[in-house]
């Protein structure tokens, strides 16, 4: 197996009064898409900031391409797509890329053909001379992905790449990210869209309160943590009613608001029973990463912290 792109050994991040990353270990193999999942305040952002040298590591070994993450030289091989838009609002699309190339010491002459390639990749060729302010949200995000590729990086780090985008824009971004992976790039992304993680990630970790709760491929995690099928039912009057409906069936139940989630490996009997009661509305679907996530991190609301 080739050497890990990123390696974390007992990595700790502590601020004055609290530990936000409590000694975690993971390795990221080259050429995969690695997902970091977790509810707000789980430590995803801190883990990313440390990786990018934006936050000093309190203790432990955190390496990128075999060098400590504090080594400034690693930035030449990494592209970053931040969550918040920090494109230059005063510049056109092309000039944004050109100026950014300058930070990597790439000359204007060298950058020019690369910029045209990237505009094509991001489906922005026709908007190249437009001001950034006139672009839609999806276009701006694509431009940020293109910008992150200006130095032809081996690793691309994306912080919630599709947050706030409409489905078309999101699918376009996903498609571009998959094509990057096909070209041998390693991707790291944080997200709390389980659909996004399932679409893109080969491996992921679920983080909560600074610890890794579980890790594996999306498929393996679903298999390991939840039953194969889910029936979400509304219209049941109370727990007794739910008991009655599920009587005699092998079902794990979860109740949130007005909805009962019933997890089972064979939902046929339950679906048949639900169909006989017209007052119930129900959705029957295969279990997803979201079910794993909610089972592991709980259904309670979190404060943003």
């Amino acid at each position: 197996m080739s050497e890990a792109v990123v390696s974390a050994k007992n990595v700790v991040k502590a601020f004055a009064d609290r530990q936000v990353i409590c000694g975690i270990d993971f390795d990221i193999r080259p050429g995969i898409c690695f997902g970091i999942l977790g509810p707000n305040g789980a430590g995803k952002t801190t883990l990313m900031r440390m990786l990018l040298g934006l936050s000093p590591v309190t203790s432990g070994d955190y390496t990128l391409f075999g060098k400590a993450v504090s080594d400034a030289s690693i930035h030449a091989r990494v592209g970053v797509v931040p969550q918040l838009d920090n494109l230059d609002p005063d510049f056109s699309v092309r000039l944004n890329l050109k100026v950014y190339a300058g930070y990597f010491g790439i000359s204007a002459k060298e950058a020019e053909p690369r910029i045209e390639e990237l505009l094509e990749f991001a489906a922005l060729t026709s908007r190249g001379n437009d001001q950034v302010a006139t672009l839609s949200g999806g276009m701006r995000r694509r431009l940020m992905v293109a910008r992150a590729l200006i130095n032809n990086p081996d690793l691309i780090v994306l912080d919630e790449p599709s947050t706030g985008l409409d489905p078309q824009a999101r699918h376009l971004i996903w498609q571009r990210l998959r094509s990057l992976k096909a070209h041998g790039k390693t991707l790291i992304l944080t997200t709390h869209y389980m659909e996004e993680a399932a679409e893109l990630c080969d491996e992921l970790i679920v983080l909560d309160r600074g610890k890794i709760l579980t890790r594996g491929s999306p498929h393996a995690l679903i298999k390991a943590h939840v039953e194969a099928e889910v029936v979400a039912i509304r219209g049941l009057s109370n727990a007794l009613d739910a008991d009655e409906l599920c009587d005699g069936l092998d079902i794990r139940r979860d109740h949130i608001g007005d909805t009962w989630f019933c997890y089972t490996n064979d939902a046929r009997a339950l679906v048949a029973r639900c169909s006989e009661r017209p007052e119930l509305t129900f959705i029957h679907r295969p279990a997803s990463l979201e079910d794993v996530f909610l089972k592991l991190t709980g259904r309670d609301m979190r404060d943003e912290a």
Binding site: A72, A76, N86, D88, F91, V99, G102, Y103
Partner: protein
């Protein structure tokens, strides 16, 4: 990290980014650079000059022009390093986007500082021309040496202002700096009248402030007044420039890399 280990291409890239933004709005920006000092020179130089006549043996217009040249270099560099730099640091995420590249915090600070001094030089050149037209320059042969000194003055004021920027929670905070540092210097460092008319204690304070030394360098270059202790004045300005850079780099690192 050694903050004096700067990679020139990184610093230049930061400078160039700001220059390109300025270039887009150069017209409006230049108007501002000309406008204020032009009004001061006209209003005070002519108006007040008529009553005052000579000051320290030279016409008041010439006396004032050299002072205004210095104070405008101070103001330009200070504004750029407070308001504009804060926008780039806090509102637009420009610094953050640079930190995702090989550019490091102290190189951003250096690029910003040199850019602010460049703006001082641009506006200084504008005032230089206005002063020349209004008869504020007596000695053209030495006057041109004022231009590199204006750049140094820009560096000396940009450094401390960037340090203030790096600890500022919001734009409102800058008002303290103006009230406590910039305005007193504008009034008590020899821009309008010789500081030896001030009480001894105030004179002592004025001697450690950079604007005093800026004026002491620029005025003899533009007028017939004799130049004394140039190396001391250059030394003090250089100290503010380097000290300000070091402090701003440390404070910005503390703020950005948590």
């Amino acid at each position: 990290m050694n903050i004096f280990k700067l990679i020139p291409t990184h610093v230049l890239a930061v400078w160039r980014r700001n220059f390109l933004v300025w270039k887009k709005l150069a017209g409006a920006s230049m108007l501002g650079n000309f406008g204020d000092p032009f009004l001061y020179l006209l209003g005070l130089g002519y108006g007040l000059g008529l009553y005052i006549g000579d000051m320290n043996g030279i016409p008041y217009m010439a006396y004032l022009a050299s002072g205004i040249l210095c104070s405008s270099a101070m103001n330009t560099a200070t504004f750029e390093s407070l308001y504009s730099a804060f926008t780039r640091m806090n509102q637009q995420g420009t610094w953050e986007s640079m930190l995702a590249t090989p550019v490091r915090v102290h190189e951003i600070i250096a690029g910003e500082q040199i850019w602010a001094a460049t703006k001082s030089l641009i506006s200084g050149t504008a005032i230089f021309l206005v002063a020349g037209l209004l008869g504020g320059i007596q000695q053209w042969d030495t006057a041109l040496f004022a231009l590199p000194i204006i750049f140094l003055i820009g560096l000396a004021f940009a450094g401390p202002a960037l340090a203030i920027c790096a600890i500022s929670p919001s734009y409102d905070f800058f008002l303290y700096y103006f009230t406590l540092a910039v305005t007193p210097m504008f009034l008590f460092c020899g821009v309008f009248y010789p500081i030896d008319t001030l009480p001894a204690f105030v004179q002592m304070v004025a001697q450690v402030l950079p604007l005093t030394h800026a004026v002491a360098l620029i005025r003899p270059l533009l007028t017939e007044m004799p130049l004394t202790m140039p190396l001391l004045h250059i030394g003090v300005l250089a100290l503010y420039a380097v000290g300000g850079f070091a402090l701003a780099s440390r404070l910005a690192t503390r703020r950005l890399l948590r």
